[in-house]
Symmetry: C2
Subunit: 228 residues, 2 copies
DNA sequence: ATATGTGAAAGAATTCACAGCA
DNA sequence: TGCTGTGAATTCTTTCACATAT
């Protein structure tokens, strides 16, 4: 085990906690607002946002009431300042450095993923243990030896680690990076993980989503639509 | 547009609908039960399952009470029959054929993904429009021209389409496959999608998960753990 | 003693519906 | 009129606590 020392927690940017379900929709609002800003639309109503996300307008207003109130009655929300608020709420006004562990098919896809820039995130390192993969180039990135992660993290500061290893290695990898002070993980492996308090882990599980999809397809009563 | 004809909806396997939150946990229960079966453990208590999923035992019992009751008081649940029940509830007692659209980094990762077998799913086709990608081999699969999808689907029957294209093409791809009678989609693109009733779409959005993660990291009050 | 299944209570999230401002 | 922000009502989810079965 590693010895531990305490550093000050970062200042919380918001007083009232955002409900989990609201939080899960904030990225979608942000995406829509980015599109609207691009399109030059200065304001947007809860109704318009609701339609784009296929949810109710009451839902949108309730969600956005968590932000500093910047809707104007009769007018709607200012796109630019609402976007700014949500970006701040998500912590995306500052950049986040990512590392990917596992340079297999999924890890490689993550390393190449273009969409991170929109979230002010960037993959800064890729790790693997396989000698055949270490040294491979992916865009600007070169796969590094996971066993040298400590020294690499001393030079390239990393905020979040994306786990794209076989699931039976996920816990060991997380333990390793916990030792380097990493406090945020995104796990692509369908494995149960134990972490100490103060560490945040989220899962992306494609199989789980598909299994829910198959259930829903079986329960969907509508007749098949077949082109003739 | 296409002309439409009606076919009978498949028989619903369950009378009472499964609550959405319960459904979202069924794949995780199933994963644990597969592990327990492998390990040869004949029965499991709600407490044990709860611990593995970091939820409460009451939650587990409530969730499992949706299944045909097969817990035995004082003893726990029979691993094998519970697994069977959940597998049936998810519709995984029969195989599902997948197609991937988009042979970029993410589509390629999906095409290679080994984990689908556990869910009785298999990728049977990969499509793209890029002439450089059409013809590429990925394992047993060869990337086909998306414009020939209709004739390919006439030979290889497909149940679910995974969308791994740039997000601005997601809607067009879905519309195309709707015309071939596909009623289930998993969308990896962060795009809003319109589908007719009777069609099921689910999203996997890595950026959204990361944005929620950054928010949670900022809100987590615990001091940093730094190894010395 | 052990552990399920479930009413009843508590807690969250969503929708309703409308007061209030532009 | 158009649209937000929010109490109140409703619906969904989780937890509690215990009767019941092994």
């Amino acid at each position: 085990m590693h010895e531990l020392e305490f550093k000050m927690a970062p200042t919380k940017p918001f007083r009232r906690p955002i409900p989990a379900e609201t939080l899960s929709r904030l990225p979608a609002y942000r995406k829509q607002l980015l599109d609207l800003l691009q399109a030059g639309q200065p304001t947007v109503s809860s109704r318009q946002l609701a339609e784009r996300l296929s949810i109710s307008d009451a839902q949108v207003r309730r969600d956005l009431s968590c932000m500093a109130l910047l809707g104007r009655r009769g007018l709607g929300y200012n796109v630019e300042s609402l976007l700014e608020q949500i970006t701040r709420a998500l912590g995306l006004e500052r950049p986040w450095a990512l590392a990917v562990v596992g340079a297999g098919a999924m890890g490689t896809a993550l390393a190449h993923y273009q969409g991170f820039a929109r979230s002010n995130m960037e993959v800064r390192a890729v790790f693997d243990v396989d000698p055949h993969k270490i040294g491979q180039r992916h865009g600007d990135l070169i796969v590094s030896d996971l066993r040298q992660a400590r020294s690499i993290l001393a030079e390239v500061s990393i905020d979040i680690v994306l786990i794209a290893t076989p699931s039976n290695q996920a816990q060991a990898v997380i333990d390793q990076f916990l030792g380097y002070g990493i406090r945020g993980f995104l796990n692509m492996a369908p494995a149960s993980i134990e972490v100490p308090p103060g560490v945040t882990v989220r899962w992306v599980d494609i199989s789980s989503e598909l299994e829910q999809l198959t259930h829903m397809m079986l329960m969907t009563p509508t007749a098949n639509l077949v082109s003739t």
